[in-house]
């Protein structure tokens, strides 16, 4: 694990590019924002570079980024695109998604 060392220091920048697509203040979207923020805090990851896209305001982004459902969390690392959909209620799944291989 390359990221093991990162976790021991203070907050670092995102190891990967993360984008969260939400639809205004709909229930799952709101929950996803909170669950993601909490997970990033626990992982000691600075969320300033986390991109949050409200598709109701930016439907063009939903189109271009192939967003079918909200909320959708997309992680891009070295060209590989991973997708997590839902309100991100399962903390273990979310952490694995952010910092896993």
């Amino acid at each position: 694990m390359v990221t093991e060392q990162d976790k021991q220091g203070t907050s670092t920048g995102l190891p990967v590019a993360l984008s969260l697509y939400i639809a205004g203040g709909a229930n799952p979207s709101e929950a996803a924002r909170e669950n993601l923020a909490a997970a990033l805090r626990e992982l000691m990851i600075d969320d300033s570079s986390l991109e949050i896209v409200d598709v109701l305001l930016r439907p063009d982004r939903a189109l271009s980024d192939h967003i079918y459902v909200t909320p959708t969390l997309i992680r891009v690392e070295a060209g590989a695109r991973k997708i997590l959909i839902g309100d991100l209620r399962d903390v273990a799944v979310l952490k694995r998604f952010i910092s896993g291989p």
Partner: protein
């Protein structure tokens, strides 16, 4: 859910899928959602794409295809199969593919807000009028709880009516119940305006497709299940005959290719009619079919000959031996000949192929030899459905069709129940063998011919290298004379005729001679009469002269005597 009372007319959008609009009584509900349910591979995606592609082609309407299961490349391949140009601009048909689904992880609830917001933006941008959500069941499956599924379905249907866009939602059937496919989410069926069921029909190892309308709000739709085919032109629905038949009817006659047969029929077959030629093997059914085709090509019409269990080359060779030249017409491209192994054809696909060919090549004359091959080869309602349907379709196109049918001599029952085809056929002719005097001869009879006065005579059919000829048959002592007996009779008749002619000549000459002789005699007699007359006259003259002389000499005597005066004065 049921509609009662007056049925409001709702605006509809034509799909232009062959036969489908008839089923829908005019098309899909405009600005509403239609759900298409079917097992995997039943043609759901194809139906959706055809609807969109036609919108672009025919109405210039932009369409959106949202694919939850297939990649963009697969969708484009499917469109390519429909003749869609590979480089078609996205401006006409937007394809959104869900290629993210294979590597998607799910955690918790979600909604379709993102998708619908994106689509609304796209509709405003492109002016799209039609949309297809392909494999919406895949998306709904991700919503684990039924409550979430219901919520999002309501959201989706509400969005469709708000946008006023005509939508097709396709959903896979639950499991593999081919008989009665229903989606895993029953709510799909309840919420939609119109539900189309695509089904497989497996019977005797032969699989066919069919389509049925489960519901159509506000439309008195057809409840029947109809055969459906997927071919080069996409989906087509067949066998939809409105109970009131209407065909283009022509009074134009086309030649049967046999001169005397045309005479028997009062001028030939009606254009656009169907002709059944039945008979036992070897009665020259194919020859009559070939003669008809040759005449059609010679007129400049395009023709199609479909032969079962006989190769085209063989047919060309065999018919050439009786003076029917198909090779040159085939070479010129006027005539198309296909041979099929009857046992191997898939009826639905075969019918579709034939119909496509009829349209593509503007066929005016069609021969099916024999139509019996299509019997028992359909998965839909009745043995002769396939044959009947083909005749029906040909008739609707105004094509003249000649079909042959084998007749089992032993039972005198046609191999295909002739009753079925013969009811559709406008003209039915039977070819028979008559064995007499040590030979078999072919004969043709017209059993029926609708709408024309036709001969009730039996004619003998002779085949030679010059073609087909029909001859009169003779009745002698209550028996029909054909073949050698007929020829003998003809020779005998010829002989007695010439004898009669000779006798007449002889009598005529004899009489003329007699007349001449008598005239001569008359002249001789007249000459003799004249001679006798002059003889009589000269006799009379000489007598008169003699009497004159006698009187004079008497007078002289009296003068001399003077004695007898008194006597004479006293008289």
């Amino acid at each position: 859910m049921t509609e009662t009372g007056a049925i409001p007319t709702i605006p509809k959008v034509l799909t232009r899928i062959e036969g489908f609009d008839n089923m829908l009584r005019g098309g899909l509900p405009q600005g509403r959602a239609t759900v298409v349910v079917g097992a995997t591979g039943s043609g759901k995606t194809m139906l959706g794409l055809q609807f969109l592609a036609d919108g672009v082609h025919s109405d210039g309407e932009t369409g959106i295809f949202v694919s939850f299961e297939e990649s963009r490349a697969d969708v484009l391949a499917c469109l390519g199969a429909l003749g869609w140009p590979a480089q078609a601009p996205d401006a006409e048909l937007h394809i959104m593919d869900a290629d993210f689904l294979p590597n998607v992880v799910q955690s918790g609830a979600f909604d379709l807000n993102g998708l619908l917001a994106a689509l609304s933006a796209l509709i405003r941008e492109s002016g799209a009028k039609r949309i297809v959500f392909d494999a919406v069941d895949v998306l709904l499956d991700l919503l684990d709880d039924p409550a979430g599924q219901r919520r999002e379905l309501h959201r989706l249907f509400h969005w469709v009516s708000t946008e006023g866009i005509t939508a097709i939602l396709t959903a896979k059937a639950d499991g593999f119940d081919l008989g009665n496919p229903m989606p895993r989410q029953p709510l799909l069926v309840y919420l939609s305006h119109c539900v189309v069921i695509l089904r497989y029909n497996l019977q005797d190892g032969i699989c066919g497709r069919s389509v049925r309308l489960l519901k159509y709000r506000g439309t008195n739709h057809s409840l029947n299940e109809y055969p459906m085919m997927i071919g080069a032109r996409g989906i087509a629905v067949y066998g939809i005959r409105s109970s009131d038949m209407s065909y283009p009817v022509s009074t134009r006659r086309v030649s049967s290719g046999v001169e005397r047969l045309d005479t028997m029929l009062g001028g030939g077959y009606y254009e656009g009619s169907s002709i059944l030629i039945s008979g036992s093997p070897g009665t020259a059914k194919t020859t009559f079919g070939g003669a008809f085709i040759e005449a059609a090509c010679a007129r400049g019409d395009n023709a199609l000959l479909i032969s079962f269990d006989e190769a085209p080359e063989q047919i060309i060779r065999n018919l050439a031996s009786v003076g029917i030249d198909l090779a040159s017409h085939a070479a010129a491209g006027r005539l198309r000949i296909h041979g099929y192994r009857a046992a191997a054809i898939e009826t639905e696909a075969f019918l579709m192929k034939v119909l496509a060919e009829l349209d593509e090549h503007n066929i005016r004359a069609l021969v099916l030899d024999p139509v019996s091959a299509l019997a028992n080869r359909t998965q839909f309602r009745g043995k002769n459905e396939a044959a009947a349907r083909l005749l029906d379709e040909a008739k609707a196109r105004g094509i003249t069709v000649v079909v042959t049918s084998l007749l089992d001599k032993a039972t005198h029952e046609a191999e295909t129940t002739q009753a079925a085809v013969s009811t559709i056929a406008d003209t039915w002719m039977e070819l028979t063998f008559r064995a007499a005097g040590g030979e078999r001869n072919r004969a043709i009879t017209i059993i029926k011919s609708r709408g024309m006065s036709h001969s009730n005579q039996v004619r003998e059919v002779s085949l030679s290298h010059e073609g087909v000829t029909l001859s009169d048959v003779y009745f002698s002592g209550g028996d029909v004379l054909m073949g050698t007996a007929r020829i003998e009779r003809e020779l005998a008749e010829q002989a007695s005729e010439s004898a009669r002619r000779e006798e007449f000549e002889r009598r005529r000459v004899e009489l003329e001679l007699t007349e001449q002789r008598l005239s001569m005699q008359r002249m001789e007699l007249e000459a003799e009469i004249a001679a006798r007359r002059s003889e009589l006259k000269s006799l009379q003259d000489s007598e008169d002269r003699r009497l004159g002389r006698k009187q004079k000499s008497l007078d002289a005597v009296l003068n001399n005597r003077r004695a007898d005066d008194g006597v004479r004065d006293g008289d």
